[in-house]
């Protein structure tokens, strides 16, 4: 059940608010856990027992780790826990990919027929869950967090429905206190609902409008891809993915806020970054900080010389790419960002970054990010390279677009993409609305309008009538 679905907005959300606030304060976490279980069971019923089992195993492993912290046995248990979670992730997320690739290799080597394999369904939110579970046991081992003393409380941390589809990635140590007591107030509901409405409108009004153009452009074959269409498609996708993902994060933060949770922000205007390094401090911040703390630093970070640092950066970005999806395109996307980050560490680039004015560095960085999104959006590496080929203006003979402009960029798509760009610029110039003052009430007052417009579109998008039935 996506947060932007009619079922969620018009049934689950009102039920959530009413049930949560109607519950006695001491029972609210149980209400929330119950709702989270229903939410998860709706989307991935077959995987629910696995998540619950992993959560309970984690709970006891963490207690065991706490009792043996600093010993070899404790380290060994952490190793078992991490291996278990990575194995689950590998099975559900990567087995189809690896078996497919292996089958291709064997076929190329002369195997009579491809491997037969019943595809494994990808459970929702598994990538986020895995990282959160690993974080929990590692933090307990490091002494950065105390293990939970309550199974329901730990399960609530794992399954809390606002973050179970698309994050942000939680850390137990950040939420532990809030899970015990939040002191939620009416203000939390007001700002939570407002934040949800803003997130919903970012997804429905802007991201979906940009998706029309992105999808249309990416449906062109190599012979139909002009440089203009390729750039337009990549640019539209850049807007789509930002407004989609950050909108989803806004909805998650808003939903959490309704229950008094203060989740960490996941985006901070990434498209006004003046370098790729800066971009990664603003984009999907819960992931980039996780990778820094649990992968990059354990690998040695930048403490072992420049050469090793570069290798570490490449490893982190490659794994980050694979984390996003089991496909060569994601791996290439990771390598691309890793390579750019390594490049920015060179003396020449550092010098350029020092001297280049921000008004120049921001658009250059944005263009580099847009190019990278081609890997992320393309169905396969062939399409990705065809796109980049076209973007470089190398298409010969000249491509002929298969779509008319009115289909490629309908008026509403153009209008909302423009609005999306204007919004990014406005936030850069005037600052983002803040709950503690700046544009606070404008933010709240605009929310009902955005909710209405989004809801109308959600309903209408489902209705695609024909004049007649076909017989």
């Amino acid at each position: 059940m996506a947060f932007s679905s009619l079922l969620f907005v018009t049934l689950f959300l009102p039920l959530y608010v009413v049930l949560y606030w109607a519950s006695p304060r001491r029972a609210r976490n149980y209400t929330l856990l119950g709702l989270s279980l229903v939410f998860y069971a709706w989307g991935a019923p077959r995987f629910l027992p696995v998540v619950l089992a992993l959560g309970i195993i984690d709970y006891y492993l963490a207690l065991s780790i706490e009792a043996r912290r600093g010993t070899r046995a404790g380290k060994w248990i952490v190793g078992v826990a991490v291996t278990m979670h990575l194995s689950v992730l590998a099975y559900f997320k990567y087995s189809n990919f690896f078996v497919g690739e292996l089958s291709t290799i064997l076929t190329d080597l002369g195997a009579a027929k491809p491997l037969t394999w019943e595809k494994v369904a990808l459970p929702i939110g598994i990538s986020f869950l895995t990282f959160e579970e690993i974080t929990y046991v590692v933090d307990v081992y490091r002494g950065d967090a105390k293990p939970s003393r309550s199974v329901p409380q730990y399960l609530l941390f794992l399954m809390l429905f606002p973050h179970s589809i698309a994050g942000p990635i939680f850390r137990w140590k950040d939420l532990e206190g809030q899970l015990k007591a939040r002191g939620e107030k009416l203000d939390d509901v007001v700002f939570g609902l407002s934040r949800f409405a803003w997130g919903l409108s970012k997804k429905i009004l802007v991201a979906d409008a940009a998706a029309i153009t992105a999808d249309a452009a990416f449906s062109h074959g190599p012979a139909e891809l002009t440089a203009g269409i390729a750039w337009l498609g990549a640019f539209a996708y850049a807007l789509q993915i930002y407004y989609d993902f950050s909108g989803y994060s806004d909805m998650a933060l808003g939903l959490g806020r309704i229950a008094g949770f203060r989740f960490k922000e996941n985006f901070n205007d990434p498209y006004i970054s003046a370098s790729i390094t800066e971009f990664w401090t603003r984009w999907h911040m819960s992931l980039s900080s996780w990778l820094r703390d649990y992968l990059y630093i354990p690998l040695g970070g930048n403490r072992r010389g420049e050469g090793r640092t570069r290798v570490n950066v490449m490893i982190v970005f490659a794994l980050s790419g694979l984390w996003h999806g089991a496909n060569w395109t994601f791996l290439l996307w990771g390598f691309y960002h890793g390579a750019l980050t390594v490049l920015e560490r060179t003396a020449v680039a550092k010098s350029w970054r020092m001297r280049a004015p921000r008004w120049l560095a921001v658009p250059v960085t944005f263009a580099l990010v847009v190019i990278g999104w081609v890997f992320f959006r393309a169905a396969d590496t062939t399409q990705a390279f065809a796109f980049l080929h076209a973007m470089a203006g190398l298409a010969t003979p000249p491509a002929v677009a298969k779509m008319v402009p009115a289909v490629l960029v309908p008026n509403r798509s153009a209008a909302f993409m423009t609005l999306g760009i204007a919004f990014v610029i406005a936030r850069a110039v005037f600052g983002a609305p803040r709950e503690d003052g700046r544009y606070r009430w404008a933010f709240v007052a605009a929310s009902p309008v955005l909710l209405v417009l989004s809801l109308l579109q959600i309903v209408n998008t489902q209705f695609v009538p024909l004049i007649y039935f076909r017989f």
Partner: protein, 427 residues
């Protein structure tokens, strides 16, 4: 300054208002209080699923329930119409579906717009025309007259209303030459008796062929074309002599928006009154000479409904069957579907080869596939069966009896008056 209590009351009102708005449609679905606004157009009905352990575990229940919920949401009609009205007012376009708004509010189907941008090679169209010629000759040997009728695309009459944003390269595609002209030229070269309604109807205003808010052609255009089809068949139908039917029409000043001339407008589902000045036509005559009652099969898409209804009102070309999309068989009197088209069965042979006249509507938009399957089936059939050498022409008052139609449409089908085929689906 607002007091603390007033602030709390305002915040509470805000929360209640937001939730009430979000939940209003769901509440109205569960406890209907407000009658929802009507939506035009048809869609596949979503059934409420039964909750079982198996269906929930396989996620089938969740998927089906979501579809059912979305279709039955209590304020769906109001939401769709309001959103469409906003999108149309702000962006001069529609959210989804086949209607497209062009200059001056002219409505066009997306398929017709696609047609003018097509660059198909002429080969398949030539092959199609040759197949038609072969079938027409073979059926003539069996005393059945087959008349293909090329029904024009709306875009062929309103080229100047199509803006550059609906042209692929700032110009129209090659469909005019490679599809339309190739088809017509080849049929002529092969001496096929046929009707080119695009040419036939080009002598007047385009508004007399298509209404601005409609996808399908107008009544008088359809009637003139049917007249031309009878004229084309006349040399092989000596029993009808020189008789004609009357295509005079008058304007229905009280025409309802449900009339076919408003079908694309209806599909917009906006809060607007129906467009003015459409002048919905009504056939003035109610009968025609009895000699024109020759048994007939009509074949084609929803455009062919015009022929079927005109023939019914004028009591000509009967008894009649209509192979809607060459898929469902409609009775020409009741206008109800009563069975499927099942090629190469005895019933099909009796229905098809037992008639005197077969009128096949070929929509220009769908060249070279529209009607192709029907001709392919007849082509194969003619390969199987030898020609009837000495069979005398049957008399118009001695038609092959048709099976009695069941007075009901298929499950889930709209009323018979709407039992056409979707204009957007290539046959």
């Amino acid at each position: 300054m607002a007091t603390g209590a007033a602030k709390t009351a305002a915040k509470l009102a805000y929360v209640v208002g937001m939730l009430a708005f979000a939940a209003a449609g769901t509440a109205n679905m569960v406890w209907p209080r407000v009658e929802d606004a009507k939506l035009n157009g048809v869609e596949a009905a979503a059934k409420r699923p039964e909750l079982t352990w198996q269906t929930a575990r396989a996620e089938g229940f969740q998927k089906d329930f979501t579809a059912w919920f979305e279709q039955h949401w209590g304020l769906r009609g109001y939401a769709v119409r309001t959103d469409n009205t906003i999108v149309k007012a702000l962006f001069h376009e529609v959210r989804a579906g086949q209607a497209t708004i062009l200059e001056g509010g002219l409505l066009m189907s997306r398929e017709d717009l696609n047609y003018v941008n097509r660059d198909d090679p002429p080969g398949p169209t030539v092959a199609y025309a040759k197949k038609i010629a072969r079938v027409q000759a073979g059926m003539r040997d069996r005393n059945v007259v087959v008349i293909p009728v090329l029904i024009p695309a709306k875009t062929s009459f309103f080229r100047e209303s199509i803006p550059r944003s609906w042209q692929r390269r700032g110009a129209f595609g090659l469909s005019d030459e490679n599809l339309y002209r190739t088809f017509v030229r080849t049929l002529r070269e092969l001496h096929v008796a046929f009707v080119d309604a695009r040419e036939l109807l080009s002598d007047g205003s385009p508004d007399h062929v298509f209404a601005s808010p409609g996808r399908h052609w107008r009544l008088s255009a359809g009637c003139r074309t049917l007249q031309a089809a009878v004229d084309a068949a006349r040399p092989d139908l000596p029993e009808i002599g020189h008789d004609q039917f009357d295509c005079t029409t008058h304007v229905n000043h009280d025409a309802d928006v449900e009339e076919e001339d408003y079908d694309l407008f209806r599909l917009l589902n906006v809060w607007e009154h129906k467009p003015e000045g459409v002048n919905v036509e009504v056939l003035s005559a109610t009968s025609a000479p009895a000699s024109l009652r020759v048994s007939t099969v009509f074949v084609g898409t929803s455009f062919v409904w015009k022929f079927v209804r005109i023939a019914k009102q004028l009591e000509v070309l009967r008894p009649a069957l209509f192979y809607s999309y060459n898929s469902s068989v409609v009775d020409g009197d009741t206008l109800f579907i009563f069975k499927k088209v099942e090629p190469f069965t005895d019933a099909w042979r009796k229905d098809t080869l037992g008639k005197r006249l077969i009128v096949v509507g070929i929509l220009e938009t769908y060249l070279p596939t529209d009607g192709n399957q029907f001709f392919t089936e007849l082509d194969e059939e003619l390969d199987i069966l030898p020609p009837v050498e000495d069979a005398p022409p049957r008399k118009p008052d001695d038609p092959t009896p048709d099976p009695p139609p069941a007075p009901e449409a298929e499950a889930g089908a709209p009323p018979a008056t709407e039992a056409g085929a979707p204009a957007d689906a290539a046959p």
